[in-house]
Structure formats: C-alpha cells, structure tokens
Amino acid sequence: MDWQRANNRTWRKIKSALASGIAFISALLVIAPLGLVFFHLLVNGAGSINWDFFTKLPAPVGAVGGGMVNAIVGTLELLALAGALGIPVGVLGGVYLAEYGSARINSILRFLADVLNGIPSITWGVVVYGLVVLHFKGFSAYAGGLALGLIMIPLILRTTEEVILLVPNGYREAALALGVARWKTIVHIVMKTASKGIITGILLALARIGGETAPLLFTAFGNRFWNHSLNQPIAALPLQIFTYAISPYDDWHRQAWAGALVLVSGVFCVNVLVRILTRGRAASVV
C-alpha cells in the first residue's frame, strides 16, 4: 500500500537503533557506579584486609595495625537487636494489611508506612536520642538497635504485604473450605506460600540498615573496645568507617577503605543470597 511505501525504511531503522542505543547507554550508567565503587574499594581497601583486621581491636592512635573485629561483631549485634523489633512487627503488620483491616484503615496505614519509608534515617537517630538516650542518660546498643529496627518496620511491612497479596485467593478459599480457622489458614497456607518473598524482604531490609550510619551517631555512638553490655555504647562498621575516614591519619584511612569493602561485600552477599532464594520464582507462586 501507498502509506507503507511512503514510510522510509532506512529512517525507521535509524530510529530503532537510536532508541535501543540510548536504552543500552542508560543501562550502562546504572551499572557503572556499582562497578566504580567496587573497583575503588578493592584498590584502596584490599591491601588493608588481613587476618588482624577480622580478629583485632582498633590500635591506639599512632600504633600500626589493629583491626575492626569489635565493629563487625557490633554491627551483627545491632542487626540482631533491630531484627528482633523490625521483623515481627513488620511481618505481622504486613499480614494485617494484606489479610485483615478495612480498605479505609489499610490505605491510611499504607500511606503512613510510605511516609515512614521516606523519612531521612538521621531523623530516627535524633528521635531515639530524644526518647531513649536522654531518658536513660547514655548511649547504648539498645538505642542503636531501636533506631535501626524502626527503619526496618515500614520496609518489611510493605514487602510482606505485597508478597502476601500475590498469593492467589484460591489457596485461602481451599483452606477455609476445609474448615481451617482463619489464622491457621494465614499462618500455614498463605505465609508458607509467600515465605520466600517474606524472607527476601527481611534480608533486603537487613542489608539496607546494615550500612546505615546516621541513625547510630546519636544512639549506638561507637566504641573502640568490646561492648560488654548492651546498655553500653557499641561499635558498628559504618560508624567506624565514618570515624576513621574523617580522621587525619593515613593508616586509619586505609582501614576505613577496608571496612567499607567488608561492608559492601556483606551487603553484596545478602543480595546474592536473595537471588538464590528467589531463583525459579516464575515456577513457584511467589
């Protein structure tokens, strides 16, 4: 037909190539920063990673060597404390949004959770400082864990809600039609079907707060030694990196790079774990 012939074939090809070219460059721009960060960390930090780094406490100013074992353990402790608060509250809240509640209450809760997700993390640090640190007159691991846990709640809540809504209604109906109680249906059928997705959400939330520094500044505070009580200030990897990076000592700068490399590797590993967990996602339901 005439209108088909009139449409210049070469020009169409050029447009097509242009569009896919731009898309490809945009994709590269997305990946490039990650590559740059990893490359930079490896170049600057790999040299300082050794056995001591994972087994020794920080060396006193001026002394060479030392490590960050207290910060690594401290971050794990803080993650455990944050998880103890954020995982149950977030998961149960997500279950409530997806399974119970009226449409009106749910839309309010969902909106509030999204607002909470957007609150800058330092705000949480300040809030916990005002509510807990001042009240108990001291920085503590509990305060740090609380600040991180509060950040986790809306993250986990929203991902849990989304994966639970993905569970086809047919499974709920099938269980209810067997005379199974509502809560048992939710726990044994719905949550079990969505378990991979829920765990993925939890892991991603842990990876996200694992690197948070700001909320810990006024709460966990940091510690150059072992923390012997959760009522005391505790070291954390991001805090240690922050302290070392703004110090004037070259040796500390190198250790900060190494700490950053360990932190990013940890987050990377969690993400790989998530990928493994969600493999075959198309085949399973959620």
Binding site: Y171, A175, A177, L178, G179, V180, R182, H188, T193
Partner: protein
Amino acid sequence: METPERSVMERVERPAQSAPSAEPAPPLTFQVKNLSIWYGEKRAIDNATLNIASNAVTAIIGPSGCGKSTFIRSLNRMHELVPKTRIEGTVLLQGQDLYSSTIDPAIVRRRVGMVFQKSNPFPTMSIGENVVVGLRLNGVRNQKFLNERLEKSLRMAALWDEVKDDLGKSGTSLSGGQQQRLCIARALAVEPEVLLMDEPCSALDPIATAKIEELIYELKTHYTIVTVTHNMQQAGRISDYTAFFYLGRLIEFGPTAKIFSNPSERQTEDYITGRFG
C-alpha cells in the same frame, strides 16, 4: 454416623413433605427457604426456596452472573469471604440453621466440603500432605490415622493408583485433571457430609472431565453433591435434580429429567435449548 440425626429429621419433615405427592419424599440434606443474599447494595440471590435431596446430585445451571456461585457458596458460608455480604432467609443443614449466631463458619465448612473451578493444590505441599492438610490443621496428630485417611480419600477420588508411588512429589506436578481429583480427595479427607463443586470441570479436557463425572456418580452413594455447571449436557448426564437460576432468581427446580424434557417455565426451555445465555 449421620444415621440417627437423619432419621430424626425425616420424622420431623415427612408430614410437610409428603403432603402434596403420594410418593415418600427423599431424605433432605439442605432446606433453603426464602434465601436472599446481598453484596453491598447488589442483590445476588432473590428469595430462593428449594430442598436438596441427600445422596443425590443437584446441578445448578444458569447464565453467568445469575447467582449460581453465590448460591452454592451460601451452602457452606464461603460467600461471606466477600466483605459486606448480607443474608435473609434460612439454610438448614440436616435441620440445623447454618446461619444461627452460635454456629462457627469453620464447623459448617468441615461438614460441607467444596471443590473449586480452578484446581488449587497447595504448592508448598506434597501430594500426601495436600490430602491430609485439612485434618492436620484441624488438630489431628495420629500418623496412623492420617495414613489410613490418606489412602481412603485418594481411593475415593480414584487417584490412588496413579499417585501411590509419588505421594512425596509436589501436588502441582500432577496434570490438571489429577490436580482436580487431588482437590476432591483433600475435601473428602475431612469427611464432610456434603460436597459442593463450583464448575469442577470447566478447566479440564473432555477425558479428564469424563473421569470427574464418573467420580461424581460414584461419590453420590456416600455424599450429597451440589454442583454448578455451565455445561447443559453435563448437567443432564450427572445430576438427579436441576435448579435453573436467572438474574438471581430461582426460575425452576425439579428432577433433571423433567427440567430437560418438559420444563414448566419458558425461560428454562429457552436457556436449555440454547436460545439465550
């Protein structure tokens, strides 16, 4: 198990039922009286009254949106899962009001099992786990009892010979027809008195459909079966009684042979002969 209960029912119901005809009335499982159901403002069922006979297959037919599914779901209170439902009238199961405020819907559903249009074995469970999940989640722990019931239910659902060596495999690994029979076995495992089937064959090929129909025929010796179907031939083949719904109203109800050969209502005839719907 149900015999004493049923005999009481018969004694109570006989006089009223046998009055119009000389034949003794068949025992009844459900007595539905003046049933109306609303979803919010929308009335899905309008003043339906019918009795469902025991150990027989009752087919519910009618065009889409006529209230068939709502009606069948009202028999085990599954329609209540939709928010803002309202009901008027009574549904008696063996003489007991299903909608009495003292009755737990979960107990109703244990007595009145259901099989759905789309087969829905639980994807996280094996074939064997799927069958006994109803018992397990209702607190049965005795492994010997569970194993017995597992085999019995699969045999009743005519699936045992096909899966007995693969009980540990995922339920979703079966074919569509096998999955649907697995769902029937799962519903039978809790030993209901009634089996509701909401278009159980509409997603199956003719061979799988024939197997399910055969199964329905065998199951009615033990269970009262109510099935929704879009397939006129199927209703004619498998059912003893047929109810025709149109726009939420029960237009006609009676023995299938009569409905299909000599319907009293014009609308029924038009629908069955394919003039509309």
